[in-house]
């Protein structure tokens, strides 16, 4: 058991940090410290391209597809340095962390060659079309249908809560292709261009005032017959593989931003004297401890993953960070007091900490709610009896 990084890994860290500092002090100074997911999309697209050009976009991917073949340790290091440098949220985080790894795992050679380099170069932005009005936690209950028409799939239906669809070039969906099927059977995983007549994207405003997510309508939308991941009917298997990415490694990068958020809460508490309040200090210490524990928890799971072991502890990770961040949002508001409840100007757009308070209420919902995560832990890790279902035999 060893905590530190090797000298080679530390050299990699220095290299990454130097590159990030040069860009973010220089041509990309304007995107530094952006924390909103929807701010300055055009400049953040430029930033994605710059990362791609320099080979820093998808560091863990194979070189052949635009990556850097980085080890897990190097991926951790890059994520840490990225956050430390105050680089903006990745506009294409769904492409990089969800679509890419899924295509890598389930795609054909042609699909990999076509889609992956375009993501790594920052040319194509992706979004995720899973949820529907009637299918959230019960994801297998989707109604969106697709059928073959000559060389195309034709898609009909509606998705909801589609994050960043308004900026996206491609969407991946699960659609029902097995006629009369229900539940996880008869689903297919399709890759669909967003910019076409059959697709309509309508932003939905969120409690923060921003519109990160959207309704996405498919009305005779089309995609090439080749744009299916896995065979027809394999959609559930592919989709679940993807949720593995969403709940596992991809959260690591995001966790490194938590450091910046906690630092901002501490800075606020020092500035207004609340850090001397013993009750607040206890909670700040709790947050510090929780953050460190998440870091070492993540390293523990990644070490296991690297050696091919599957540690059921990984199933606890989503609840860990989502609950930690929700608590941090509340702590931030308790530190700020009533000052946190107003914002200058007429835009309903709060600064980082009050916004964190609002936004963190989504963390315990998306990617599987805390309740669903508890079911998963209880059933898969602890072996308890499955939830009874009302609608499936």
């Amino acid at each position: 058991m060893r905590l530190g990084f090797s000298p080679e890994e530390e050299a990699f860290r220095a290299q990454a940090a130097a590159w990030l500092a040069a860009e973010l002090d220089g041509p990309f100074a304007d995107v530094r410290h952006i924390t909103s997911l929807t701010a300055s999309p055009r400049r953040r697209r430029d930033w994605e391209k710059r990362l791609g050009e320099a080979g820093w976009s998808c560091v863990g991917w194979p070189r052949a597809y635009g990556g850097r073949d980085a080890t897990l340790a190097e991926q951790v290091i890059f994520a840490e340095e990225y956050a430390r440098a105050g680089a903006p949220p990745r506009l294409n985080h769904i492409g990089i962390e969800l679509a890419g790894p899924t295509i890598l795992a389930f795609g054909t050679e042609e699909q990999k060659a076509r889609f992956l380099p375009a993501i790594a170069r920052g040319e194509k932005i992706w979004c995720q079309g899973y949820s529907e009005p009637g299918a959230g936690s019960d994801l297998a209950n989707i109604r969106t249908r697709a059928w073959r028409d000559g060389d195309d799939w034709v898609i009909e239906g509606q998705k909801i809560w589609t994050s960043l669809a308004q900026f996206s070039d491609w969407i991946f969906v699960i659609a029902r292709t097995g006629e009369g099927s229900n539940g996880p059977k008869g689903l297919s995983f399709l890759l669909i261009p967003v910019d076409q007549r059959g697709v309509t994207v309508r932003p939905i405003h969120q409690i923060t005032g921003e519109a990160e997510f959207n309704e996405t309508f498919f009305d005779g939308a089309r995609t090439d017959a080749a744009n299916i991941l896995g065979a027809p009917g394999d959609g559930w298997k592919v989709a679940m593989g993807l949720l593995g990415f969403e709940r596992g490694v991809s959260t690591l990068a995001q966790q490194m931003n938590f450091r910046n958020e906690l630092d901002a809460v501490i800075a606020a508490a020092r500035a207004n004297g609340e850090a001397k309040n013993p009750l607040i200090r206890q909670r700040l210490a709790k947050a510090e401890i929780g953050l460190k524990i998440m870091r070492y928890g993540a390293l523990r799971m990644l070490t296991d993953a690297e050696s091919g072991r599957l540690n059921p502890a990984a199933l606890t990770y989503k609840i860990q960070w989502a609950s930690w961040r929700r608590d941090l949002g509340e702590l931030a508001m308790d530190v700020l007091g009533v000052a946190g409840e107003t914002v200058a100007g007429h835009d309903y757009a709060f600064p980082m900490l009050p916004n964190l308070f609002l936004y963190s209420r989504a963390d315990t919902i998306y990617g599987g709610t805390n309740e669903i995560q508890r079911n998963i832990i209880a059933e898969r890790a602890l072996g308890l009896p499955r939830e009874p279902r009302g609608d499936l035999k």
Partner: protein, 362 residues
């Protein structure tokens, strides 16, 4: 970055796991709990077997002094496995507190004279913080000590004591004239306390008192945190087993979501406690800058986790969980003892706050 057990560490864990599962059984623990006097709260046969047969005796004591010469990670592994069974052993007192104090603060002569007996289990030591009755600390003066130490873990079975006084740290032999050892009826009978009264009792000063106390505290905190981790895991494992066999309303109670979600929450906390304990152990072994932060974090987090899990264990067992016959109370009481001993979770969080500079001026 290689944050997983090495093959050797995994083997130690397996060996210790099997050893405690086979030997630290509930009936044996209960016999030790019921014993009084020189056997209060100790399964002597188990301690002898642990020290002589397992090959892991004196985990942190160098091989030259009869120990196993292992690090904090291995120590945590052993404490965790002992904690899983609330084993009635003076592991914390003798190897977690007293031995590290002697190793870090004793002269070469003191170490080679005192440590082999602790490693072999022939002698048991404990660790005490003494004060003059009620007021300022007890002081060492020309080789004698006067004062009182309350709440000395496994004090009634110890053969010697490492005693922290205001102006030094000293070794006191149990048989020394002027020393009165009073066993206390303790809530956790698997780690009972004793009171020590010193009346001009012969006391041999340790060479480096500061190093001795630091080592005792750091190792003790880690050993308690690891004990708490093992205990919490046992609470979860046993409750999961019960959830599958107990039927109410025609279903296994573990199929009710209100029930299984609470087990899931226990697991979420336990996995975090595990990260904290092994992070701290590694950080100490590697002499990392984070070591103090980590060990305070681990003591606070793991003790809170254990208290929560042990409480849940009782609740989720219903009436049977509240009986003397069921083992749930052993865990519940050990969890409380772990939280109280050597600084409660809030105190440890205050240390973290200090180390992180949280209330430094803006």
């Amino acid at each position: 970055m290689d944050f997983a057990f090495t093959d050797e560490q995994a083997m130690i864990a397996e060996t210790a796991h099997a050893f405690f599962a086979e030997n630290a059984t509930s009936p044996r623990t209960r016999t030790a709990m019921a014993a009084t006097g020189k056997d209060a709260g100790i399964d002597r046969a188990l301690w002898t077997a642990f020290c002589t047969e397992l090959g892991l005796s004196g985990v942190g004591i160098p091989e030259a002094m009869g120990g196993a010469g292992l690090g904090m990670v291995e120590r945590a592994i052993l404490a965790e496995e002992g904690g899983r069974h609330t084993a009635a052993l003076p592991f914390l007192a003798s190897l977690g507190l007293a031995a590290p104090a002697i190793l870090a603060g004793g002269s070469a002569e003191q170490r080679s004279r005192l440590l082999p007996g602790l490693a072999s289990g022939e002698r048991i030591a404990s660790f005490a913080v003494a004060s003059a009755d009620g007021a300022a600390g007890a002081a060492l003066g020309d080789g004698t000590l006067t004062g009182t130490a309350l709440h000395v873990p496994h004090g009634a079975v110890a053969d010697l004591f490492v005693v922290v006084a205001t102006n030094g740290v000293a070794i006191v032999e149990r048989g020394a004239p002027g020393l009165a050892v009073t066993p206390l009826t303790s809530m956790d009978q698997t780690r009972p306390y004793a009171r020590l009264d010193f009346d001009s009792v012969a006391a041999e000063a340790l060479a480096d008192p500061r190093a001795a106390t630091n080592a005792a505290f750091v190792t003790g905190w880690l050993a308690i945190a690891a004990d708490a981790l093992g205990g919490a895991q046992a609470c979860l494992d046993r409750t999961v087993a019960y959830a599958q066999e107990r039927v109410q309303f025609g279903r296994a109670i573990g199929s009710f979501q209100a029930y299984k979600h609470r087990l899931a929450d226990m697991m979420v906390e336990i996995e975090q406690a595990r990260s904290a304990v092994y992070w701290a152990a590694c950080a100490i072994d590697e002499g990392s800058d984070e070591a103090m932060f980590a060990v305070h974090a681990a003591k606070a987090f793991a003790c809170d986790t254990y208290s929560h899990c042990a409480g849940e264990m009782i609740q989720l067992h219903g009436g049977i969980g509240f009986t003397w016959e069921h083992d749930a109370h052993l865990f519940f009481k050990r969890a409380r003892s772990n939280a109280s001993l050597l600084g409660a979770p809030d105190w440890h969080r205050e240390q973290v706050a200090g180390l992180a500079g949280l209330d430094r001026a803006a």
